[in-house]
Chain length 199, copies 2
């Protein structure tokens, strides 16, 4: 448990989103996930809107840690580490439930500039990171020189987004898309012969 | 305008979803998009639930027409025709707004068995179709014999889903993912040299 009351409230917001989803989330739900009263939450965050803005900042920090924290000794290893961490089904139910809440939020993005800006930044964070890893690998000669970092980053970012959507909407496992993106990295980017790693 | 009153109501439901989104859609909204009263809609569909079930059937028929209707003389041409029709930004606003309503529905799938079953069937329709086209192409020798139709269908289906999510959530253009999936077909499936079609 974090000692900082604001962080404690944001942790509770995360839990409440997992339990109740995004559409009908109330301050009461958030209070119920913490040891705090609704009044105490109001003391730190004037309006639900302020709390949610802070929550988006908190989430972005966590996502940045995940995206920037996956590293390896080479571009190939770093890419594969990133796919490992982003494309797992996860044993823990809260993760699935949180992805459901995130998809609800994505659907609200066209109606809410703050939410849209958040998803735009997160999307750019991921695609910029993938592009940079690939560009480094091409420059160092580790990846195939014919690879276009922009287009490959586009493909991988879109596949990761699609894996998240399919997981929530149709319960589709992430394992297979993890397998297929890993093979894409090996055959298309690293340039290992397709007979070594069938695609 | 269709003469069949049920189809007319389902057309109005489509329009109302574009205008109001999924979460707060009412029978009044649907009536307002047609020449019918709310009572007349009730005459054909007892409950909102019945109307929505019929609407999902109507949508599935349209989607089947799109997915099965994209054909070419060869597996490559058929795949490219399918990507053309599924990965366009579309000039008309209703299409974007409809995709927004669809993403809202996807986020509701974990809470609604009917919606979930619908997305599961639609997802399978698309991935089965892509898999069958690729398997035909491999069998006829048109596509690279090392291609695994299951894995390639998985990749393309996931990329198409991801393109839809990114378009709604962050306004990301479908043009680039159209370009990159087309190159994937050319280089990975058809097996054209990557220097001919840079990837």
């Amino acid at each position: 448990m974090d000692d900082d009351p604001k962080t404690e409230i944001l942790d509770a917001t995360y839990q409440a989103l997992c339990t109740h989803g995004y559409a009908n989330l109330t301050l009461e739900d958030i209070a119920a996930e913490s040891d705090r009263s609704k009044a105490s939450i109001h003391y730190y965050f004037d309006r639900k809107r302020d709390l949610f803005a802070a929550f988006l900042g908190y989430l972005f920090e966590k996502y940045t840690d995940v995206v920037d924290g996956s590293t390896g000794d080479t571009a190939r290893e770093t890419l594969l580490a990133l796919l490992d961490v982003l494309l797992t089904d996860g044993e823990d139910a809260p993760d699935t439930e949180f992805q459901t809440a995130m998809l609800e939020m994505k659907a609200q993005a066209p109606y809410d500039d703050g939410v849209r800006a958040w998803f735009t930044e997160s999307d750019e964070l991921l695609s910029d990171r993938i592009r940079a890893i690939i560009a480094d690998g091409v420059e160092s000669g580790e990846l195939d020189e014919r690879v276009d970092p922009d287009l490959s980053a586009e493909f991988l970012t879109t596949a990761i987004q699609g894996a998240r959507t399919r997981r929530v909407a149709v319960g589709h496992s992430m394992d297979r898309i993890h397998e297929v993106t890993t093979r894409y990295v090996e055959t298309q980017l690293v340039g290992r012969d397709a007979s070594e790693v069938s695609h």
